[in-house]
């Protein structure tokens, strides 16, 4: 396992697979998480991006920030495109037309994964193509300005389900993508966060080396639409973990392992504070929403601990 400094060098040197010059928002963590994941591959990486922030900011023609083979088709099909690339890879290898080994990586945001790309992802996982799917989850359609997705948390105000006089924002909890992916009985699924580089790197390595499909869900606080100071991205990511809002865990060959167990779980308010999408929750009439959110987080955490302790395979 390389040190943090060694990982940093791999993400910024001449061999870096995503280079500077992209147009990500100041403070955006997508660059960090993608670079860390790409550095974890010991083979060349062929990348497929779903339409979204990452695709838009890395390739405005005639420029590209990708120093690795990269393609984009449309929004909802990164997993299908990766399926096709993997099929071509197997075929061209078998026929002796290519010789280089590669890893295949599909990347989408939460909209392109939890929502519109869900069927394509499930199909690809069921078929067992060897590729890693990464979702950078900023919890809504952020490229187009904060519209609700299946990953948007309970209580968040979005432009399509805004908080108002009779609404506290999103009334539903989010999907558990990691468990859904694990239900496909694939070799590796994990939840990671952008602030924990070592954990993310290790998980990306496991994902690339898995004997079949792997899924990595990475929390990516959005400075623009969660509306916090660009210097605080890593702090919000850390708070999401420390409040158990976003537990770091993995499901390896069906077995759950929690990677980080906060010794002193922080109250959810610590994570909510300072984010525009949750500002309305601090009004007295919405106090019950925070109470309910805390209850759900604690219940989910207790459930996750129980699953880990049981050793029961997914």
């Amino acid at each position: 396992m390389p040190t943090l400094q060694e990982i940093a060098l791999k993400t910024s040197g001449a061999d870096a697979r995503l280079v500077s010059g992209h147009r990500m928002c100041s403070g955006c963590g997508i660059g960090s998480l993608v670079k860390t994941i790409l550095a974890a591959s010991d083979k060349p990486v062929v990348v497929v991006s779903a339409t979204g922030c990452l695709e838009v900011v890395t390739t405005i023609y005639p420029f590209t920030a990708w120093n690795t083979p990269w393609m984009h088709l449309t929004f909802e099909n990164a997993a299908s495109v990766a399926s096709g690339i993997e099929a071509a890879y197997k075929s061209l290898k078998r026929r002796g037309k290519i010789s280089d080994d590669v890893n295949i990586l599909a990347i989408g945001g939460d909209g392109g994964t939890y929502d519109i790309g869900f069927q394509a992802l499930s199909g690809a996982l069921e078929r067992g193509h060897k590729f890693m799917y990464v979702v950078y989850d900023n919890e809504a359609y952020m490229n187009t300005g904060n519209q609700r997705s299946g990953a948007t948390p309970f209580g968040a105000s979005t432009t399509t389900v805004p908080a108002g006089k009779v609404s506290f924002g999103k009334p539903q909890w989010r999907k558990n993508l990691v468990e859904i992916a694990a239900a496909h009985r694939i070799p590796y699924v994990a939840q990671a966060a952008v602030n924990n580089t070592m954990d993310l790197y290790k998980k990306a390595q496991k994902g690339f080396n898995a004997d079949g499909p792997s899924v990595l869900a990475v929390l990516q606080p959005c400075t623009t639409n969660w509306s916090f100071d660009p210097s605080l991205t890593m702090q919000y990511s850390r708070l999401a973990v420390e409040t158990n809002f976003w537990p770091l865990y993995e499901v390896e060959n069906g077995v759950v392992h929690i990677n980080v167990k906060p010794s002193n779980r922080k109250p959810i308010e610590d994570f909510l504070k300072g984010q525009t999408r949750f500002r309305h929750l601090f009004k007295p009439e919405n106090a019950h929403v925070i109470v309910e959110m805390q209850k759900m987080i604690d219940e989910e955490w207790a459930r996750l601990l129980k699953i880990e302790e049981s050793g029961i395979q997914f």
């Binding site: 390739t59 405005i60 990708w66 393609m71 088709l73 399926s83 061209l92 590669v102």
Partner: protein, 389 residues
């Protein structure tokens, strides 16, 4: 000389695919296309081909995975019909812009609603504007040869565009006809292998495919795509000449039948052209000067050549197997467009026939000819063949 096999149009498409032995085939079942992918899947299961076949969970994913495979460097193929084409429309439209020479069989079936599994051309006519080469086939023999031809035209360096090979659902796809299949080795030499020049999997030549393109460049991309479409004519002729050397048949942009001295010509796509030939034979025996023009290459559309072929014909009837609601029918529109530049324009009549698989008989076509030869025509209003009163 080939071997004559009694096979369906769907099997003819699968037979061409067997000989092509593509690197990747991606498919999703839909009536009446399903027998193509079933037949091909058998070839895979029996080791007759060593294609990597992916049976996906929807047509949207079928075309997405085909695009992924083709971008990666594979020769990738797929097949669909009707609703399947509609579901994959987004990716069908994206494919020419990425300059990917994918070849797909389209077994023409009406587009819902109402739902109906039978033939008309409402599926393909919804995608003729997006930039695929469109080739139409009268019968199983043409399906087979057009599929081979399409691969070479699509992949030509001057073109690099996707191609659809059309055949009529059930009428062609499920009817058994004798089809002459040429020697595997000869056909394989003709189709060759796809160049890996643009392959994403050529990791030594790092490239970004499918970038965001803003108003400062997008227009130029589309102009280049249009220029490539314009090159199809010369490439189609060249590749057709090569294929002729194997098959002994010709590969024109359209077929004419008894048009030289014709006083009335009917223009019709696909299987109904065969019915029209039978009607023409009957009427010619009665001394009536009637003929047929069957478009084969529909995109790009050979306006000048068709204009030249029909310049001396006084009356033209165009039979469309789909409608463009509130506007002229698609084939009729193209013919009017092609003939507009003539100094002496013909009288024209638009007919709609065969929607949702309604049969068209030789007698229906004879009746249309009689109207063209002696009846009152109205070039502004379409008429209906075989419609209940």
């Amino acid at each position: 000389m080939g071997i004559r096999k009694p096979i369906t149009g769907a099997q003819a498409a699968a037979e061409a695919m067997r000989q092509i032995n593509p690197d990747v085939v991606v498919a999703y079942p839909i009536t009446p296309q399903t027998p193509i992918v079933e037949e091909f899947a058998k070839y895979v299961a029996d080791g007759v081909v060593d294609t990597e076949m992916v049976a996906v969970e929807s047509e949207h994913s079928a075309m997405s995975a085909t695009v992924g495979a083709e971008t990666a460097g594979a020769r990738a193929m797929s097949a669909t019909s009707s609703q399947g084409l509609a579901l994959m429309w987004e990716i069908v439209a994206a494919t020419p812009g990425l300059r990917l020479p994918i070849v797909m069989s389209l077994v023409n079936r009406t587009l819902s609603a109402p739902i109906n599994i039978h033939c008309d051309h409402s599926d393909v006519m919804g995608v003729t504007t997006v930039g695929w080469i469109q080739i139409f086939s009268e019968n199983a023999q043409e399906v087979y040869e057009n599929t081979l031809l399409a691969v070479r035209v699509a992949e030509d360096e001057r073109v690099q565009l996707p191609a659809m090979v059309n055949q009529d659902g059930f009428i062609t796809s499920h009817a058994v006809e004798p089809v002459e299949i040429f020697d595997d080795a000869v056909v394989r030499k003709f189709v060759g292998v796809r160049s890996l020049e643009r392959a994403l999997l050529d990791v030594k030549q790092v490239k970004s495919v499918g970038p965001l393109v803003l108003p400062d460049y997008l227009f130029e991309f589309k102009r280049a795509q249009e220029e490539a479409m314009g090159k199809v004519f010369e490439v189609y002729r060249e590749v057709g000449t090569e294929l002729s050397a194997i098959t002994g048949r010709q590969y024109p942009f359209f077929e004419t039948y008894q048009t030289e001295d014709a006083e009335a010509v009917i223009v019709v796509l696909n299987s109904a052209a065969g019915t029209a030939k039978a009607a023409i034979d009957t009427m010619r025996a009665q001394g009536k000067k009637v003929g047929l023009l069957k478009p084969i290459l529909f995109r790009p559309f050979p306006y000048a050549e068709i204009r030249d072929a029909l310049k001396d014909v006084p009356v033209i009837g165009v039979l469309d197997r789909s409608m463009d609601f509130g506007a002229s029918a698609p084939v009729y529109s193209e013919l009017r467009n092609a003939l507009w530049a003539l100094e002496k324009r013909p009288a024209m009549q638009s007919y709609i026939y065969g929607l949702g698989g309604r049969d068209i008989m030789a007698t229906d076509i004879e009746a249309a000819f009689e109207e063209l030869l002696g009846g009152t025509l109205d070039s502004e209003h379409q008429r209906y063949i075989g419609l209940r009163g």
